[in-house]
């Protein structure tokens, strides 16, 4: 199908119409060459500086990572003191340890050693069950507050019970696997996050439900420097979405349903919010209107630098994709399907097994562009992020998907175009975790 400029396109499904000029405008030649992405107006520190900025964060995570047997020193000491206080004497005690908690068996031995050591330090001589005058039966249990160690001290029908509560051990560190997609943890917090972005001067800006927080690196730790509240008169929609952008002049923009905020991070954080239905940036050249009371784009799109507009029909996300001389948009509609729209404005392919969030990233391998797509499925399930190459209008999965321990709640292409900011909820910890995901392409 060939169309003339100004004609409208009807996509598959028959309801979405878009002027051809708008679609062509999305796919301007400057985007066909990934190297030109560096010219885009969003500013980021040079790569080396970015690595330097992330390094302390990685160190902090490493320092907070699961401890060794030393983790049991304090509860073992407390438990030993309680046992000694209840025991009739310090000789002839037998110790048995039983695990009914989620503690891995390898770590149970650590607990047992720590307990034996603490008891001996208090002058207790341990004996076998047959020779023992008194028994100490320790059960490693668990409750909603963490691990609960329960010791029954006594013999025959006479038993005393003592307990020690101790926090759950951090999950074992995952060994890094060789992945085509690489992720770097940017930030994690208990409260929901909508977007995370690095400011031009190396600060970390976190968009939450009700506030925008500025974190500054001090003494190798991210410290909260300032918080600005996001004023809004109406309740936020459920499944709240929001996006951050930093303009060339350094101003920070926060886009939320029916509300937009603008401000600066220097010399101090300032933010002014107003009710606004202005469109959000989809890419540097295309804006899209977001429903003020729902979780999707209405479908109305317009070029950033002109008044040209069109209507796609409601969608959750859209990713720009370029391949040689050809350009595409892939749009995840609220109907549950994603469609590939070519430069002629035609919906040429429908993809039905993706989730609602798509993002395009540039890389130095393959076609130079990869589409990132979340997995279809409920928010109750673990999520994954797969990279695709578009070959002959078909999506071909590239590499091994990145697995996440919970649903991906937000994904936006980063301003520099080579990564996407992904926010996922860790189902185990309940924390929201923001990652920068890029294509490592086997290097």
């Amino acid at each position: 199908m060939n169309l003339n400029s100004g004609e409208r396109v009807t996509l598959q499904g028959g309801v979405q119409q878009l002027p051809l000029d708008v679609i062509r405008g999305w796919l301007r030649v400057r985007y066909y060459n990934p190297s030109l992405l560096r010219d885009l107006r969003f500013r980021m520190p040079p790569r080396s500086q970015r690595v330097f900025l992330l390094l302390p964060l990685v160190l902090i995570v490493a320092l907070a990572s699961p401890s060794t047997a030393q983790q049991w020193d304090v509860p073992a000491r407390e438990m030993a003191e309680k046992i000694v206080a209840r025991a009739q004497s310090r000789s002839g005690l037998s110790l048995t340890v039983k695990n009914i908690s989620s503690l891995p068996s390898a770590r149970v031995a650590e607990v047992e050693r720590a307990l034996e050591s603490e008891l001996r330090r208090r002058g207790v001589s341990l004996a076998g069950p047959e020779q023992a005058l008194e028994q100490v039966r320790v059960t490693l249990s668990e409750n909603t507050a963490g691990y609960l160690w329960v010791a029954e001290v006594g013999h025959d029908e006479t038993w005393d019970v003592v307990m020690v509560q101790t926090p759950l051990a951090a999950a074992a560190a995952q060994s890094p696997a060789a992945l085509m997609l690489r992720r770097t943890l940017l930030w994690s917090q208990a409260e929901p996050m909508l977007d995370v972005i690095a400011s031009g001067n190396g600060d970390l800006i976190v968009l939450g439900r009700d506030s925008l927080s500025l974190y500054r690196m001090q003494e190798r730790k991210w410290q909260l420097a300032a918080t600005a509240s996001l004023a809004h008169s109406r309740p936020w929609p459920r499944d709240l979405r929001g996006r951050l952008a930093i303009q060339a002049d350094g101003t920070v923009h926060a886009y939320l349903p029916g509300v937009q905020c603008a401000g600066a991070t220097l010399p101090q954080l300032s933010l002014a919010c107003k009710e606004s239905d202005d469109p959000w940036p989809l890419s540097p050249e295309v804006n899209a209107f977001f429903s003020s009371r729902r979780n999707f784009f209405t479908g109305a799109v317009k070029l950033a630098r002109s008044s040209e507009a069109g209507d796609l029909g409601p969608f959750y996300s859209a990713a720009m994709f370029a391949q040689g001389e050809h350009g595409f948009w892939i749009v995840a509609f609220t109907t549950g399907s994603a469609r590939l729209i070519n430069a002629q404005g035609q919906a040429v392919t429908t993809f039905t097994n993706w989730g609602s969030d798509l993002a395009g990233i540039a890389s130095d391998c393959g076609s130079g562009w990869q589409l990132l797509a979340t997995r279809a499925g409920d928010n109750t399930l673990p999520d994954s992020l797969a990279a695709y190459e578009i070959v002959n209008r078909e999506a071909v999965e590239a590499g091994v998907p990145l697995e996440f321990g919970g649903p991906i709640t937000a994904m936006w292409s980063a301003a520099e175009g080579r990564s996407a900011t992904v926010i996922a909820r860790n189902r185990k910890s309940g924390e929201y975790e923001a990652f920068s995901v890029s294509a490592a392409c086997g290097r």
Partner: protein
């Protein structure tokens, strides 16, 4: 041939266009969720709940009302109607700063004095008052776990209008209410926490388990109950079944009748019950045999309470008592599992020479004069102290002293249990079978519904 080659891609594209929309990660708005229940409730007012509130009453309360504090699906305490709070060093005085702009279902703003009235009514022992626009709760003894208490359904903020209606601030508002039969809720568009994805929920009560299973199969219901003893079979049949942790206590609750006034008799009955056998056979190994009043996953020490029967000891106690009358135990006539357990208790008691007759009655009406009732009590909180406090009050005792020490809590539970007014038998999970169009159904470990997050596959975005 040429014609066929041309038609093939056209047909393929048509097929693509006609393909039903697949599940998308991001929730969609709209639709009516149809829920069926075997139990029923005569009132939506939490203040009019029976001593042992049912799971249904607690679940409905969570849809219609909010508390000052809420729990998320990870059971972490989060701000509810209170945006923030602070307390003095010894936890006797708490101050809550309320969210602004919260509207009641009748469109009126939720004013701080209404919060005070609601909390004072549900907690006569607390001193609740206003301080400016803030709410202050004071207690003569330290209340370190007050936040967990406030997150319980019984502390929902309920406003009684002059017309006698009950209104809340919850994510859904009442559209149609036929007491004990049918409830239709519609989404609260102005909900402070964000409008739910569902447009409405239609709840049919008093539906037999057989009819529920049939309605789910025929697509006439989206969510139906699965009794604990049917969970395994439903899973084996390939049904989508959501199961919580063991959160519902099946227990024998003794009345104040003179016939069961003697604690030794109640102890003898307790010793005669073979809880392990009930769990392995009648419950098909679902849940856990309950020797204590709190489940193992909440207290961490439940394993210390024995669950096997001590028939010899029970007989000895029975002999020491001399003559005793035949006792009656009532069960909910709409609960086949409850009937089976009551009958097993009767058989166990007979082994200890204690005569028990069982019969079914409408337990929600509480009209009978049974010596004991087989009750199902939902876990009020996943905070052990708050849950035990709620059980203690329901069993007619004074609330246990709030504590964060597991040893003190164990001592409190032992004291409560050794009164033998409430004999724990088993903890069972809540289980639901879900229709294909139901998405994002989360079963929190502590049970209950999170219907604000649920969405339905459909045409409307």
């Amino acid at each position: 041939m040429r014609r066929s080659a041309y038609l093939l891609p056209v047909a393929a594209s048509l097929l693509l266009a006609l393909c039903p929309a697949t599940a998308a990660t991001r929730p969609r708005y709209g639709g009516t969720l149809r829920v069926e229940l075997s139990t029923s409730t005569a009132s939506l007012d939490p203040a009019q709940q029976s001593a042992f509130p049912t799971s249904v009453q607690e679940q409905l309360a969570a849809l219609l009302f909010d508390g000052l504090v809420a729990r998320d699906e990870y059971a972490k305490l989060r701000p509810g109607l209170a945006a923030s709070w602070q307390h003095d060093p010894d936890y006797r005085r708490w101050l809550f700063h309320l969210q602004s702009g919260v509207l009641l279902h009748n469109g009126e703003p939720l004013r701080p004095h209404l919060v005070v009235m609601s909390l004072a009514a549900s907690n006569p022992n607390w001193q609740v008052r206003l301080q400016g626009d803030d709410v202050v709760i004071e207690s003569s003894s330290p209340v370190p776990n007050l936040l967990a208490e406030l997150a319980c359904a019984r502390n929902s903020i309920v406003v009684h209008t002059e017309a006698g209606a009950v209104v809340g601030t919850g994510p859904f508002r009442v559209s149609t209410w036929e007491a004990g039969k049918r409830l239709v809720l519609t989404a609260n568009d102005d909900y402070w926490g964000g409008r739910p994805f569902l447009d409405s929920i239609e709840i049919t009560m008093g539906r037999s388990q057989r009819d529920q299973a049939l309605d789910l199969q025929l697509g006439r219901a989206d969510v139906v109950e699965v009794p604990p003893d049917q969970v395994r079979r439903a899973q084996q049949e390939g049904q989508r079944v959501a199961v919580s942790a063991p959160t519902e206590l099946i227990a024998l609750a003794f009345s104040d009748q003179p016939s069961v006034k003697e604690p030794t008799l109640r102890e003898a009955i307790s010793l005669s019950i073979d809880r392990s056998a009930i769990q392995s056979t009648l419950l098909q190994k679902q849940g856990e045999a309950a020797g204590g009043l709190l489940p193992q996953w909440v207290s961490g020490y439940a394993f210390l309470f024995p669950v096997t029967a001590s028939v010899e000891r029970a007989r000895q106690l029975r002999r020491d008592l001399g003559a005793t009358p035949s006792l009656t135990v009532a069960y909910d006539w709409n609960d086949p599992l409850g009937r089976a357990i009551a009958e097993r208790v009767s058989v166990n008691a007979k082994d200890a020479d204690i005569a028990i007759q069982t019969y079914g009655e409408n337990l929600s009406a509480r009209a009978g004069n049974a010596d004991a009732r087989l009750v199902r009590v939902p876990l009020a909180s996943n905070d052990a102290a708050a849950a035990l406090a709620a059980l203690s009050v329901a069993a007619g005792h004074q609330s246990v002293t709030p504590t964060n020490s597991p040893e003190e809590l164990y001592a409190s539970e032992r004291a409560l249990r050794n009164d033998f007014r409430l004999l724990p038998i088993a903890y069972v999970p809540q289980a639901w079978a879900l229709g294909a169009r139901v998405h994002d159904w989360v079963t929190p470990r502590e049970g209950g519904w999170r219907l604000s997050e649920v969405w339905l596959e459909g045409d409307k975005p």
